[in-house]
């Protein structure tokens, strides 16, 4: 390990690595996981909540899922305060596009724009990279439903199913096995909950430890972003076989 090359983002190591970027990804590997699955009729995002306390005041605030624009939402994994900055940046970028073109910003362009911002912090300014990975879920008229994953390096990719945060490799390989191209939104929810329950540390899953959101089209053609209520989430957990109705550890 070349320790002398890891304190500045703006230099490569002799092996051609950017250590600060890699360390940022380490930080995310310790954060609550999130899974996204693309289906024919929508995109499903599921996140593991790390902060579960009865004292926490949760009205409509979410910990993992955020709406960027009417047609795009994201799940985050990593340092929450960094995430807030980037989410705001993404929101401004989306509105700036709509201000100029009077149309919603295509999802990939939004992801690309945010990734370009992240990349800047790996090349100049002397500031550390953002310790956040995102799963973006959205719909636009060019490519329909889309799922993108972006990481601190500023790389991004379009995915059919993806996982970020703790145990993401295990989740990713499980998704690879069970995902099928013509999956419906309902099946995707089941799959996401199953995979997340297997990769999460906790022995019993309750709706308090999870967040579930969907991006889909209403019959009117409008894009809807909906966060699942705790009651519906509990029912879904039972339905997917993750929790027994009498709350026994599974």
């Amino acid at each position: 390990m070349s320790r002398r090359y890891d304190s500045r983002t703006t230099i490569f190591s002799p092996e051609g690595r950017l250590y600060q970027v890699e360390y940022a990804m380490e930080a995310i590997g310790n954060a609550g996981s999130a899974i996204g699955i693309l289906s024919k009729d929508g995109v499903v995002l599921v996140g593991e909540k790390k902060v579960t306390s009865k004292l926490l005041q949760t009205s409509t605030a979410t910990e993992k899922m955020y709406k960027i624009d009417d047609h795009v939402a994201c799940a985050v994994a990593g340092i929450m305060s960094d995430a807030n900055i980037l989410i705001n940046t993404a929101r401004v970028q989306a509105q700036r596009y709509t201000y100029a073109y009077q149309e919603p910003m295509p999802v990939e362009q939004l992801v690309q724009s945010l990734s370009d911002t992240k990349q800047g912090y790996t090349q100049f300014g002397g500031l550390r990279p953002f310790g956040v990975s995102f799963l973006f879920a959205g719909w636009d008229k060019n490519f329909g439903f889309q799922l993108y994953m972006s990481d601190p390096s500023g790389n991004y990719g379009g995915w059919k199913a993806a996982a970020i945060g703790a145990n993401y490799q295990a989740a990713q390989s499980m998704l690879k096995q069970d995902y099928k191209d013509d999956i419906t939104r309902e099946e995707a929810i089941q799959l996401a909950l199953k995979v997340l329950s297997k990769t999460m540390d906790s022995t019993s899953l309750t709706s308090e430890k999870l967040e579930l959101a969907e991006v889909f089209l209403l019959p009117s053609g409008e894009v809807k972003y909906q966060v699942c209520s705790p009651e519906s989430l509990s029912k879904l957990l039972v339905k997917s076989g993750v929790t027994q109705p009498a709350a026994e550890a599974s």
Binding site: Y99, A100, Y101, Q102, E103, E108, Q109, K141, N142
Partner: protein, 204 residues
């Protein structure tokens, strides 16, 4: 004295512009093409200050091309129109462009459309529009004869009526016009209407 006008027909949009380049009392040339092909399926007919006209329309054209290179998809006509209006609006209170534009385009999902954009950044989506002194005649004629879903022949007949009216009733009427059309097959030149041709230069 510049005239630009256009209308939307059945699956197409047509724009016509005079082709005189005038400076004070001198006509520099009478075959100046003021209708730019913005991209494969968009036309920009512009009138106004000649330096601004070329500068601004080329700026828009290159930005539209850049968007397509960056994002792999073209801008819709509506997006291009709003972008153009935004640029005029931003420059308005500093360094305005004196350019009036009729932006005609064809989109696969929404068909043909025409946008009226004036030099103080007004934007209207219209079925027919016109700029210049000629607009007094064109708009009246189009109000009388336009109906939605016109065929190309009907639309050209109306365009020719407008050109005839401008030639006969406007005091310093531009003699020559260019007509361009945009439909599902793209944007292209349709015809010229010349009543004054430059004399041929004899070979040396």
């Amino acid at each position: 004295m510049e005239c630009v006008f256009g209308l939307v027909g059945n699956g197409f949009a047509i724009v016509a512009a005079d082709t005189s380049a005038v400076h004070s009392i001198l006509v520099h040339k009478s075959n100046e093409d003021k209708i730019m092909v913005l991209d494969s399926h968009k036309l920009v007919a512009a009138s106004g200050e000649s330096g601004d006209r070329v500068q601004f329309t080329e700026y828009i054209q290159k930005n539209v091309a850049l968007y397509q290179f960056r994002n792999g998809i073209p801008l819709t006509t509506a997006a291009a129109a709003n972008f153009t209006r935004g640029e005029l609006a931003t420059a308005l209170r500093k360094n305005p462009y004196f350019v009036n534009i009729l932006l005609a385009g064809y989109d696969k999902e929404t068909g043909p459309s025409l946008y009226y954009i004036d030099y103080i950044a007004t934007l209207h989506k219209v079925d027919k529009g016109a700029f210049g002194y000629g607009s007094y005649f064109c708009l009246s004629l189009m109000d009388r004869h336009y109906h939605s879903g016109m065929t190309v022949d009907e639309a050209i007949a109306l365009v020719d009526k407008c050109i005839m009216e401008i030639r006969s009733r406007l005091v310093v009427a531009p003699p020559n016009f260019v007509i361009k059309i945009v439909d599902k097959d793209g944007a292209r030149e349709y015809a010229w209407r010349e009543s004054v041709k430059d004399t041929a230069v004899p070979a040396a």
